[in-house]
């Protein structure tokens, strides 16, 4: 354990979170000449966006937009990236000085030597669920997170590893190193940007939808993986029996606008990503019927309403009504009981696959970071914007800014603009306090 090692005290900014908002912020700062330390808790930067299929309303492939940004971030001379790392605490030590403790967890692979050859993956005898494919398929305990990960290097999942040493034996560059330990660093910075992102709603919280019980009820993030270029099955199929579905249902507002599960706010992105997935499904499975069950369709952004109308024109079936309950038939098909608002009656419909459009929840990773100062949260536990209309990225602590979904649900364009705002405030702050 290397405790309290000081690596470099001259970072101008600490960016917590390496998703699209954190990455954009780091780039904006570095491109204006500031030195940035970017901390990401996952094995790769790129956040959730790098795992998506295509993005609304332009249908650009998400990887095509994310990977070059990720690439630019990872080789920028003024950006230092720590993956599989966490910030333990941040202390304000002066007017514009902070100290942060960063903990880097061992990857058990020397990243600079790994060529990404995947021999260790093949040799590893342990199979576990692949979190980057949202449990749709398995992975090994020695694994490369995903094909477009950055860094594209293996990692050892030590919790599931049986320490058989098979990976070490086959590794051609001897980059596997079981002696790696947790490292702790103390860094000095002048400003902090929190870009800790969001969590997805866990549909196990709504037992009546049968997620986890009925195999053909999946989440929208799982469908996102099924539609992505780096998809696990190379086609869309339902997990229960591998059948290609032809009558697909979307349940909007799963875990959003629902005080009964503790989340009364609208998640802002689910209508649009569901409409996008419906369009992609109609392209992939031209014979399939796609039905979207909704409360209101909120296609509010630039080009969004037109995208919604386009989906209607393509034949996506929109039904205004909330789903009461989902039941499974013997053949794995699902019966949706719902209130049809237009007809004013309760109806049932059979689908062979159901996608729960899960909402956005606050990621509370940043909550306990500050000990002496209070980082205020809003009533929904997102980071509180202390001057929401004049300076949306200001938090309750002077010199600490928030970017992206850490302050509330938002889509990719809004996250990028929010990151632009946070960078702007951070740059002004750095220049003002020079």
């Amino acid at each position: 354990m290397m405790s309290g090692q000081q690596i470099n005290s001259s970072f101008d900014a600490l960016v917590v979170g390496g998703g699209i908002a954190g990455g954009e912020t780091a780039l904006n700062l570095a491109n204006n000449g500031f030195k940035v330390l970017l901390i990401e808790k996952e094995l790769s930067i790129g956040g959730k966006m790098i795992l998506l299929s295509k993005v609304f309303p332009t249908l650009d492939c998400a990887a095509c937009i994310t990977t070059p940004k990720v690439s630019e971030i990872s080789r920028h001379p003024d950006i230092t990236i720590f993956t599989s790392s966490e910030v333990r605490n941040i202390t304000k030590t002066g007017e514009n000085n902070f100290e942060a403790v960063v903990v880097k967890k061992p990857r058990y692979v020397a990243v600079e030597d790994c060529t990404g050859c995947q021999l260790c993956e093949k040799a590893c005898p342990v199979s576990v669920r692949d979190q980057y494919q949202f449990d749709l398929v398995g992975r090994k305990a020695a694994f490369i997170p995903f094909s477009i990960a950055s860094p594209k290097a293996a990692a050892i999942d030590i919790e599931n590893c049986v320490l058989c040493g098979a990976c070490e034996k086959v590794c051609p560059t001897n980059c596997i190193d079981f002696t790696q330990e947790t490292e702790e660093y103390l860094v000095k910075i002048n400003t902090v940007v929190l870009a800790t992102g969001f969590k997805l709603f866990d549909p196990l919280m709504i037992p009546r939808f049968g997620f986890g019980l009925y195999k053909n009820v999946i989440t929208s993030m799982q469908m996102e993986r099924e539609l992505a270029p780096t998809r696990p099955f190379n086609t869309v199929l339902r997990p229960g029996d591998g059948k290609v579905p032809d009558k697909i249902a979307y349940v909007l507002c799963t875990g959003s606008r629902d005080a009964s599960v503790g989340n009364p706010v609208c998640s802002q992105i689910c209508c649009m990503y569901s409409i996008k997935q419906a369009q992609l499904l109609m392209g992939t499975l031209p014979m399939a019927d796609v039905t979207i069950y909704y409360i209101n369709i909120r296609s509010f952004g630039k080009g969004f309403e037109e995208f919604y109308q386009q989906a209607k024109g393509m034949g996506v079936n929109f039904v205004k009504g909330k789903i009461g309950k989902i039941a499974e038939k013997e053949n794995g098909n699902l019966i949706l009981r719902y209130e049809d608002i237009n007809e004013g009656i309760v109806k049932e419909a059979e689908h062979d696959m159901v996608i729960l459009s899960v909402g956005v929840l606050p990621n509370q990773d940043a909550t306990g970071l500050f000990k002496a100062e209070e980082l205020k949260l809003d009533p929904y536990k997102f980071i509180y914007q202390s001057d929401a209309l004049e300076s949306p990225s200001k938090t309750s602590i002077d010199g600490v800014f928030v970017a992206g979904t850490a302050s509330g649900p938002m889509d990719i364009p809004d996250s990028i603009l929010s990151a632009g705002a946070a960078s702007s405030e951070a740059i002004s702050y750095l220049i003002r306090n020079k």
Partner: protein, 570 residues
């Protein structure tokens, strides 16, 4: 002529390879003259492939590189940088678009798509054979930014630029700053009034030495380009035209509220039909009782999406801010005045994100919501001296519901500025919705195709205040990054005059949209001369030259002709 070209053909994870047989494309071009190396790749833009390309360029000493992938709008710069990192001048890189121009356009014809892709890659090879190393032009960038429009977006952008030690000029058409928000009462979410918010910003701006504010002023002339725009400003009641030089221009010209047509939901025909803008002022100015034309108002009907989400006509988009703004104002009215009953005739409420809480509060306080489809809008008519709003309400299975309204508020959305001369002055492109258009919503959301001109706020599309400020700050960062270093690199892609062949006929200078061509005397004759810092390399001048005396660097006649040969050859 190049002999060692590397060609990479991208699957784009299936975006291309689902329709184009990329391996067949590779085989078809691997023996083309000059090609040393050809590969296919899952994602050409991925970090790992970029590293492989750098290694290839170094190991094989490549003198030209081609990636056949998506539109150059997305990744020309990405791969030029790869080339640079490997030590190969970036102008030896040529981009071939086989996604937007091939796989997406011909998804119904895989054989034809593959054929077309082969031709496009062969044409890129033909062009790359003639490509030459070039150096970027380095120009001086003035550390000053002109902010056009002094509403909330412009004020906030100006303040931030001032913080960044940048000279700022605000040019506002009205005699006051603050834009539309200056007249608004309490705002969602903070309940601060619009007036207070604007005053807070104004006080800060007024104390800044590096901020100059022109009120009642308009930009009437623009010459120059990124790094050094020369703007002419006319201030009302002043004879003198003011000239300023700035490195970047930030557009924050805002929106117009939609004006309903005569008779649209009774507007300008029934005497108690007003717009949301008018209603906001009424609520702000009223005291104790809400009175309209001498009568106390009790029942208010709000008709949503007036001028937005139209099935026919120009405004097919959603105006984004109006649902929340209306509910917020309706609640203000309810809390401020006695006996107010709000009836909302919606097309589906869009209080996205945390704004949902406001909708929930409104429901809890007894506001009534009705909903109709786009093809069955509410009907507003007069019956026995009373104004009636009638709708077939889909929330109660299409029941016909009538509300007797003392006041009908048309929830009018945002439309682009009617007087948008200044946009024309900078040749800013507009989108389908007629708002100014960014280059790419996610990659370059505040930049325009006019180098050095950024856009933000509602001149780009409907936004609420928070979103407007976020975009203003983003645009400020972008404008700052153009000017912060004092120098800028620009593309060396400019027109060149063959002084022998030129015999000044004026055709090129008339064709030039950037005023980059002028006449000089050269010995015994007059010839054309190109101003390199103004020339954008658009190529408008080359085809009009009767003596073929103009060539465009990187798009020379020989390059274009060899591409045409490759495309035409079977």
């Amino acid at each position: 002529m190049k002999k060692k070209i590397g060609v990479y053909i991208c699957h784009c994870g299936g975006n291309i390879s689902d329709y184009v047989d990329v391996e067949k494309v590779r085989q078809a071009i691997e023996n083309e003259g000059g090609v040393l190396l050809s590969k296919t790749t899952m994602f050409a833009c991925s970090d790992s492939n970029q590293k492989d390309m750098v290694d290839d360029i170094k190991n094989y000493d490549l003198d030209g590189v081609i990636v056949a992938s998506c539109s150059p709008k997305l990744h020309l710069t990405t791969f030029r940088n790869v080339s640079e990192r490997a030590g190969l001048n970036k102008y030896n890189y040529v981009h071939a678009n086989i996604r937007e121009q091939v796989s997406w356009a011909h998804s119904d014809d895989k054989v034809g798509a593959t054929e077309k892709a082969i031709h496009i890659v062969k044409a890129a090879i033909a062009k790359d054979r003639f490509a030459e190393s070039l150096e970027s032009n380095v120009i001086e960038a003035r550390k000053a930014v002109a902010v056009i429009g002094g509403g909330i977006a412009g004020m906030k952008a100006a303040l931030t630029l001032s913080d960044m030690d940048c000279q700022v000029y605000i040019i506002e058409r009205e005699p006051y700053l603050g834009g539309r928000i200056a007249q608004w009462g309490p705002l969602f979410t903070t309940n601060e009034t619009g007036k207070d918010l604007v005053n807070r910003l104004y006080d800060k701006l007024a104390s800044r030495e590096n901020v100059i504010i022109f009120k009642s002023a308009e930009v009437i002339g623009n010459a120059g380009s990124i790094g050094d725009f020369k703007l002419k400003i006319k201030v009302t009641d002043q004879n003198e035209i003011i000239e300023i030089n700035v490195g970047s221009v930030l557009m924050a010209t805002g929106f117009d509220p939609y004006t309903p047509k005569d008779g649209e939901f009774g507007y300008s025909q029934l005497d108690n039909v007003i717009t949301l803008t008018e209603f906001k002022q009424m609520v702000e100015q009223g005291d104790k009782l809400l009175v309209y034309k001498g009568k106390v108002v009790k029942n208010i009907a709000y008709i949503y999406c007036v001028g937005s989400r139209e099935t026919e006509g120009e405004n097919t988009y959603c105006s984004r801010y109006c649902c929340t703004s209306t509910i917020h104002t309706a609640l203000l009215a309810k809390k401020k005045f006695a006996n107010i009953y709000n009836y909302h005739f919606t097309r589906g409420v869009r209080t996205y994100g945390k704004q949902e809480i406001l909708y929930a509060e409104s429901l809890a306080l007894g506001d009534i919501y009705l909903q109709s489809n786009e093809d069955t809008p509410p009907d507003v008519f007069q019956n026995g001296g009373k104004t009636i709003v009638k709708v077939s309400d889909i929330l109660t299975t299409g029941r016909e519901i009538e509300v007797e309204a003392d006041l009908v508020v048309l929830v009018t959305g945002m439309v682009p500025r009617e007087n948008n001369q200044v946009g024309t002055l900078f040749k800013l492109p507009k989108g389908r919705d007629k708002f100014f258009n960014e280059i790419h919503m996610k990659l370059r959301p505040v930049e325009t195709v006019i180098d050095g001109v950024t856009i933000c706020g509602t001149c780009q599309g409907p936004k609420n205040i928070l979103e407007t400020v976020n975009s203003a700050l983003s645009a400020a960062t972008k404008s700052f990054s153009y000017v912060s270093k004092g120098v800028l690199e620009t593309e060396p892609i400019v027109a060149e005059i063959d002084t022998e062949a030129c015999s000044w006929c004026d055709a090129c200078s008339e064709a030039c949209p950037f005023d980059a061509i002028s006449k000089i005397e050269n010995g015994t004759k007059s010839i054309a001369v190109i101003n390199n810092s103004v020339c954008k390399g658009c190529g408008m001048c080359t085809p009009v030259c009767p003596t073929d005396a103009i060539d465009l660097v990187t798009f020379s006649n020989k390059e274009i002709e060899s591409m045409i040969d490759a495309l035409a050859n079977d």
